[in-house]
């Protein structure tokens, strides 16, 4: 009897649990229903005419910061599109860059790429393309002649075998931002050669001013600067030459770049403890007027404009090293780009949306004052629209670009890139023979290209 009653109570208990779970489900369902009817209400008439199926598009993006103009313009465009197409619901998945990279890799491993996602150009997106995860966008680029809105040659970084797989939101170059007030205080001029730059660093240091701010905990920042020095000592295309086996890392130009980089470090150019500053902390040193120079891609322009040093900042091109190099060759940074999942349930709808989104992107970015360094042609007078002097200076530099190089991790496979990033970070904390750095690079390259 006791056994039977226990059995009974067990059954009762389990029914209770299941009914609770069922309750949970039904409330969820109801919520979903009301939400969708609410969404459809304002446009009921349109919906009656054309009965279309409900479409949900997931839009993964890297604009989580609500103060960022790009976040605002994305939300504006998405809302507008949803009102015009009531059957389409666009779900935003906003993450910061590193989180997004990680999430996408995890999703890709289980073949669950969101309808729209973000990738980086060239070598970084190659594994995804080779795995067949992205849909080619050629047909969509011809639609409404979207292709013509992009700067010439930009889409090449996102194309493999004549198929374009992603559409970039930006196209930046690397410049040196400098704080005019601090330069004046130390009595120094904008350097035109690397040797002058070292003297400037020395003078600034004597006056107790941090010469260059850098966020080297995120090791790509140092690599970006190093690659610009390599661009001066070697000229463009060094990494490509390594890939084509015309050169090895044991090249005099590479070693000269390493030595020059070390001379900056030994001159005390960077803030103390630079390797523990992440990207934002490093940039903040410059934005709060604590550092005199900041080497970064032009995407930083918007952030500097909204900071306390706005109005005191100018830009200059990275100088020649030992008389070598052309200052008009820049580190090129074709931006992160929107790609569409090949397995998207609503491929056509997603393509239509992205097409419309990109067509409107330049205009909206221009009005949101976020158009410096976007990848598309912008009609409009920047000066009249109230862009700052610094933004105008940056735009001026864009016109002088005569080619250049991509960042290391956009050219080399991830394995080699990781070794490179650590190797450069190491230069910040200890003196290393240039030959040893070259050897480390070469070994990593060979190990990752078997």
């Amino acid at each position: 009897m006791a056994k039977a009653s226990k059995m009974l109570s067990f059954i009762l208990a389990s029914t209770l649990v299941f009914s609770l779970a069922a309750c949970g489900n039904s409330t969820n369902d109801k919520k979903g229903d009301t939400a969708s009817t609410e969404g459809a209400k304002p446009t009921e008439k349109v919906a009656e005419k054309v009965v279309e199926k409900e479409v949900k598009i997931t839009f993964q993006n890297i604009y989580p910061d609500t103060t960022d103009p790009k976040n605002q313009l994305m939300k504006k465009l998405v809302t507008q599109y949803q009102t015009e197409h009531p059957n389409i619901k666009i779900e935003l998945d906003s993450l910061n860059t590193d989180q997004q990279k990680l999430k996408l890799k995890t999703q890709a491993a289980s073949k669950e790429v969101p309808d729209i996602t973000i990738v980086n150009p060239a070598a970084q997106m190659k594994p995804f393309v080779e795995a067949g995860l992205f849909a080619p966008l050629n047909d969509m680029l011809d639609q409404n002649s979207l292709k013509d809105t992009f700067q010439e040659g930009l889409l090449d970084w996102y194309s493999f075998d004549n198929n374009t797989y992603a559409l970039p939101d930006g196209n930046n170059i690397a410049v040196v931002y400098y704080n005019k007030e601090l330069f004046e205080k130390a009595g120094v001029q904008v350097p035109t050669t690397f040797e002058e730059m070292l003297t400037v660093v020395g003078t600034l240091k004597e006056k107790g001013i941090t010469p260059i701010a850098i966020g080297e905990k995120d090791s790509w920042t140092g690599s970006f600067l190093f690659m610009n020095m390599l661009l001066r000592t070697n000229g463009p295309g060094f990494l490509q030459d390594v890939v084509d086996q015309k050169k090895t890392f044991d090249d005099p130009a590479f070693k000269e770049a390493v030595d020059s980089f070390q001379s900056l470090v030994t001159a005390g150019a960077f803030q103390e403890g630079a390797t523990s500053f992440d990207y934002n902390a490093g940039e903040n040193l410059f934005k709060t007027g604590k550092a005199a120079m900041y080497f970064m891609g032009t995407w930083a322009t918007g952030g500097i404009e909204t900071s306390s040093v706005n109005g005191k900042v100018g830009v200059f091109k990275f100088p020649t090293i030992g008389g070598k190099g052309d200052p008009n060759e820049f580190m090129l940074a074709p931006g992160s780009a929107f790609a569409i999942s090949a397995n998207s349930e609503h491929l056509q709808e997603t393509k239509d949306f992205l097409n419309w989104f990109m067509l409107n992107f330049p205009k909206e970015a221009f009005t949101a004052k976020g158009a410096v360094g976007i990848g598309q042609v912008v009609d409009g007078d920047f000066k009249a629209a109230g862009y700052s002097d610094m933004a105008m200076e940056v735009l001026g530099l864009f016109k002088e670009v005569k080619g250049g190089d991509l960042a290391f991790d956009n050219t080399m496979n991830p394995g080699t890139a990781q070794v490179h990033l650590n190797s450069i970070q190491n230069l910040f904390v200890q003196k290393v023979e240039a030959g040893a750095v070259a050897k480390e690079h070469q070994a990593a390259y060979e190990a990752n290209n078997k």
């Binding site: 491993a109 995860l133 803030q271 390797t275 970070q425």
Partner: protein, 296 residues
């Protein structure tokens, strides 16, 4: 089985859900990652089976791996060395403080705080004096300027700075565990001992220590496994830098799997970690079983 006087069916019905979940989130992933450790796979595209190549590279060619193993093991040794100190504090608290609960809770506080917060807090403390670092400023004020340095970015000291933070955070945790252990020793035993003339530290030596060996073991196992898996604090404070000087096994694994996109290789590091954890647990259990037998 039947001491509980319930049918096997009932036992099965109640145990099964937990067992399934446990299998699903512990055993199956371990097996999957053991298998991925045998692949040359970037995590996305097609994978090729390479047998033990990953392990060969790991053990013989990876210049980062063994130093990171050394750092991880040092970390465990330090965390285990901390436990006697925690025990000592617990004994003092029990003996000399009338209402020790408040103190124990205060010591426990850092454990509740998120590692990210602790990491940021200590990063600011460790900062160079020019950036307002507290530790360096104190050193300068008391005239030890030559001792001041950038604690997190000098390869020689960075790792020790990290150990210290972890030890600081978990001291309260282990103190709490030991304190509870001591409190559970029946007071009659001490009273009896007092009659026999054993008081103070003598009582501790012959009563407290033998009686809390099981609790001591829990602390040791927790400290050891916890430090083998150390990841979050390293990631927040140095990210394994400068130049891998503070990489531990798990950060190396993360860098390989996700940053270098060598998922197979990363999985082989994970397998290594699992095996080390298992072996360590077995060894610790063995030692403590002996100890317990000797003292009981």
């Amino acid at each position: 089985m039947n001491v509980l006087k319930v049918s096997r069916l009932t036992i099965t019905a109640f145990v099964l859900p937990c067992l399934l979940i446990y299998f699903g989130i512990v055993f199956i992933p371990i097996i999957v990652s053991l298998y991925s450790g045998l692949l040359d796979w970037n995590g996305i595209g097609t994978s090729t089976f390479v047998g033990l190549d990953n392990f060969k590279n790991l053990f013989f060619h990876d210049t980062i791996f063994w130093p990171s193993v050394r750092r991880t093991l040092m970390f465990s040794v330090f965390s285990m060395a901390e436990i006697p100190i925690a025990l000592f504090i617990a004994i003092l608290l029990r003996r000399y403080i009338r209402k020790p609960n408040f103190l124990v809770s205060s010591y426990f506080l850092p454990v509740i705080l998120s590692v990210v917060i602790i990491g940021q807090l200590w990063k600011t403390i460790y900062n160079p004096a020019s950036m307002g670092g507290m530790l360096n400023q104190i050193l300068i004020v008391i005239g030890l300027e030559s001792w001041s340095r950038s604690w997190l970015t000098e390869p020689a000291v960075a790792m020790y700075s990290l150990y210290f933070v972890a030890l600081w955070q978990y001291l309260g945790y282990h103190t709490l565990i030991q304190f509870t252990g001591i409190s559970n020793v029946p007071t009659e035993v001490y009273e009896a001992a007092r009659i026999d003339g054993a008081e103070g530290f003598k009582a501790d030596r012959y009563i407290t220590l033998p009686m809390i060996i099981p609790i001591f073991k829990i602390s040791i196992v927790l400290a050891f496994i916890g430090s083998l898996q150390a990841f979050d604090m390293v990631m927040v404070m140095t990210g394994g830098g400068p130049a891998n000087a503070t990489d531990v096994i798990s950060t190396h694994m993360y860098n390989m799997s996700f940053k270098s996109m060598q998922y197979g290789y990363g999985s082989s590091i994970a397998s290594f970690l699992v095996v080390v954890c298992l072996i360590a647990t077995v060894i610790i259990n063995y030692i403590f079983n002996k100890l317990e037998k000797r003292f009981s």
